[in-house]
Amino acid sequence: MTPSDLVAPVPSGAPPEARPALPHSYLTEGTTLRSWLTTTDHKRIAILYAVSITVFFFIGGAAATFMRLELATPAGDVVSAETYNKLFTMHGVIMVWFFLIPSIPATLGNFLVPLMIGARDLAFPRLNLASWYLYVGGATFTIIAMIAGGVDTGWTFYAPFSTLFSNTHVIYVLAGVFVVGFSSILTGLNFIVTIHTMRAPGVHWFRLPLFVWAQYATSAILVLATPVLAMTLILLALERIAGIGIFDPALGGDPLLFQHLFWFYSHPAVYVMVLPAMGVVSEIFACFSRNPIFGYRTMAYAIIAIAVIGFLVWGHHMFVSGQSMYAGVAFSLLSFLVAIPSAVKVFNWTATLWHGRIRYDAPMLYALGFVGLFTIGGMTGLFLAALALDVHLTDTYFVIAHFHYIMVGGSVSAYLGGIHFWWPKITGRLYSDRWARFAAILLFLGFNFTFFPQYLLGIEGMPRRYHAYPPEFQTLNVLSSAGAVILALGYLLPLIYLGWSLFRGRPAPANPWNATGLEWRTSSPPPENNFDVRPEMTEPPYAYREARLGRDIVEAREGTQ
């Protein structure tokens, strides 16, 4: 029995428009723009975030497309050096702060954390809306900077270039990132307080779904790291305006002090980007292998370990920066230690499939893509943690490939997997699984085609942030640019079939995947107060024992159950 096509052909005689109107839910509570822009419902704020970060994903993606166009030829002939520098800076700033960091926490996290712990909303709904407006505020500053002429400092803003030598609109972008930082802090604060105080009866700490564990650890990082970035950017901006500061070597300051403060935030920030993805993958693996997660407690401790040790390793960004040799050795050891919990999680995901009943619906394909690409990304991180190799590989395309494998191959795949997994719950509609699976595979191939050649370029020694390069690097660059075209097209697909499903998709039952978890015990889409009757958790999560027949997913989706 080939997995039935989700979108069964419309039974003849029933015109498509006669599809039953959606039942009463949070979506129908108010349909005016005002009701959306002044909502304090965590589910609506999740959708506001989803829309805004998608817009920024494609702006950042556009910048990347121009860069790949430029890099197809050794000579810098498509765009000028100045424009290329502004392109990669904008690509970095937008993708890091306006897409990756909010991507899963602010969308799936906002929507699902209250549902998964059986609460009616987050602890501070008004703060949650304020968080989105801070995001919009930060975005406005960044857009102004782009329109006014862009910034050419790189998303890392290293002093003394960003303070004394760059004559572009650095202050606008610093203001934008400063403001959007507080959006992260408010979201993190909201999640931590909610998970501590508002769990439904029976929802003990070690019965929390791993997605909630991941949101908790991510929020802890956001709350503990972002304030350091906020003050560092203020010091940088003041130094740029006043010409005096603690990073200026001519005044006895130290540019490395900026790098320490910046990376103290920015390395934990990369764990903010990957931990929620790990949470999503755990949920999807359990559901589509019909197995409980292998070693639930180990996976939970591993999430916390990654978050904590993640704060101790930032020095591996500075092995050749003039940092002392002893600091390099210390940070290298700690960086190897932080790789252990990530490795354990990959092995535990693999073991989850053991004796399972695995189905390959779209979410599962994205999750498998995550595990595969995150394994390669994580392994190449070991090359960069090894001091002697980092000397050769840092600041080359090896580093670019490494973090894109984890950010794009990992986090974005898991984000799409999560969107596909919870789409029926969020929108109350089903989508075309055939198209979704095709998109997942296309993205996987396009991604590898784009970024694997960059590993080889990095080993050969091609430095990053070059718009012109020696001719011997051209073949691999052309391959990478070709791959980027496939990737760009691949990302348009979900927009199309998911968009289509919004209006024409069949209504989704409460639990289309027959998954465990409190969010599946309410209707799809859920009412404004989430639960008509307060749920209670009576057994450990991922108790897929009784639903092990595999037929049950299909029946659940047909709504015959």
């Binding site: 409980p292 180990t298 050749v320 024992r545």
Partner: protein
């Protein structure tokens, strides 16, 4: 000979780094293959609808297997990581300690070019000639922002910071012309700075090249000219009227400072005393020296330091 895609191995460090690279590649590829094989094997064998025997109570089966299996895939990676860490750290320490007697070449990085200055005063722009087989130590500083000297063929890279000297040493083993890149983003023409070359020549040929260059004044001679032109001799000269530290034989000696501590008169101290004179004031002297920051370049500072090093220890009574 190196397996592609590693660049040619042209320094004593390169084969050692490559050996570590191959070892880590082999281990990681093996583990990655093991994970992918396991994923595919489980994925195919336990797919829904495939009638193979399965544990009825999977949670119990997992619990039994969990302890041993998780211990294994935690401790084994930990052991492998520690080995890789130790091996890499050893190489990193060797990279960080230039061998004694290495040929010193001064390097000034500025927005968007490299300026090299051999001990005998020969200057080169964006091109560095070095002898094969002899350790070379680059003493580097930046005129403006942070740059980074990167020679892929030697597997060496070191950021070049303004206001500080950083070292980068290598011993070339293969004659030839190799890329010299700037690896730390430094502004508009960062890529342009990457068109530099390192030319490794046989020692005899290098000597001929060095001698054949236009009779450039040595760094010390240029330094002496600057010493007079900038008016340093007015205070620090042998018969100067002003009470200023005597520079003869100063290089390498400990210098008592006005705050009671003492420091060694090395390149850093001389560089900072020229550009930021009030940072460390010699004991018993008034803070009257003007700063030359902005008036002279880092290459001039190298010349002045070369001149001060060449001054023989003072014979007459120190002032």
């Amino acid at each position: 000979m190196t397996l592609l895609p590693l660049p040619p191995s042209a320094s004593t460090m390169a084969p050692r780094v490559d050996a570590l690279f191959y070892a880590i590649t082999a281990t990681t590829v093996a583990v990655a293959i093991a994970v992918f094989v396991a994923l595919i094997y489980f994925g195919v064998r336990y797919r829904a609808g495939n009638p193979v025997p399965r544990h009825e109570d999977i949670a119990e089966a997992q619990r039994r297997a969990r302890i041993r299996v998780e211990l294994a895939w935690t401790l084994i990676p930990l052991f492998l990581f520690l080995c890789a860490f130790a091996w890499a750290a050893r190489l990193y320490v060797d990279r960080g300690t230039p061998p004694a007697g290495a040929m010193a070449i001064d390097v000034v990085a500025k927005q968007w070019m490299w300026e090299f200055q051999h001990a005998d005063g020969r200057r080169e722009i964006n091109e560095l000639h070095v002898p094969r087989g002899q350790p070379v130590n680059l003493v580097m500083t930046s005129q403006d922002v942070i740059h980074s000297l990167f020679v892929p063929a030697f597997r060496v890279k070191q950021d070049v910071l303004p206001g500080r000297y950083t070292d980068l040493w290598f011993t070339a083993t293969e004659a030839g012309r190799y890329h010299l890149f700037c690896a730390e983003y430094c502004g508009t023409d960062h890529a342009g700075m990457g068109s530099g070359d390192v030319v490794v020549m046989e020692p005899a040929e290098f000597e001929r090249w060095l001698a054949s260059g236009a009779r450039a004044p040595s760094a010390a001679m240029r330094g002496e000219a600057l010493f007079r032109a900038l008016g340093c001799s007015g205070c620090h000269g042998a018969n100067a009227a002003v009470h200023a530290p005597n520079l003869a034989g100063l290089y390498g000696k400990p210098v008592p400072l006005s705050d009671g501590s003492t420091t060694v008169a090395d390149e850093r101290y001389l560089h900072d005393s020229i550009l930021q004179p009030h940072k460390e004031i010699a004991a018993g002297y008034a803070p009257i020296m003007p700063s030359f920051a902005g008036r002279i370049g880092e290459d001039d500072v190298f010349d002045l330091i070369a001149y001060i090093r060449s001054l023989a220890p003072a014979t007459e009574r120190p002032r």
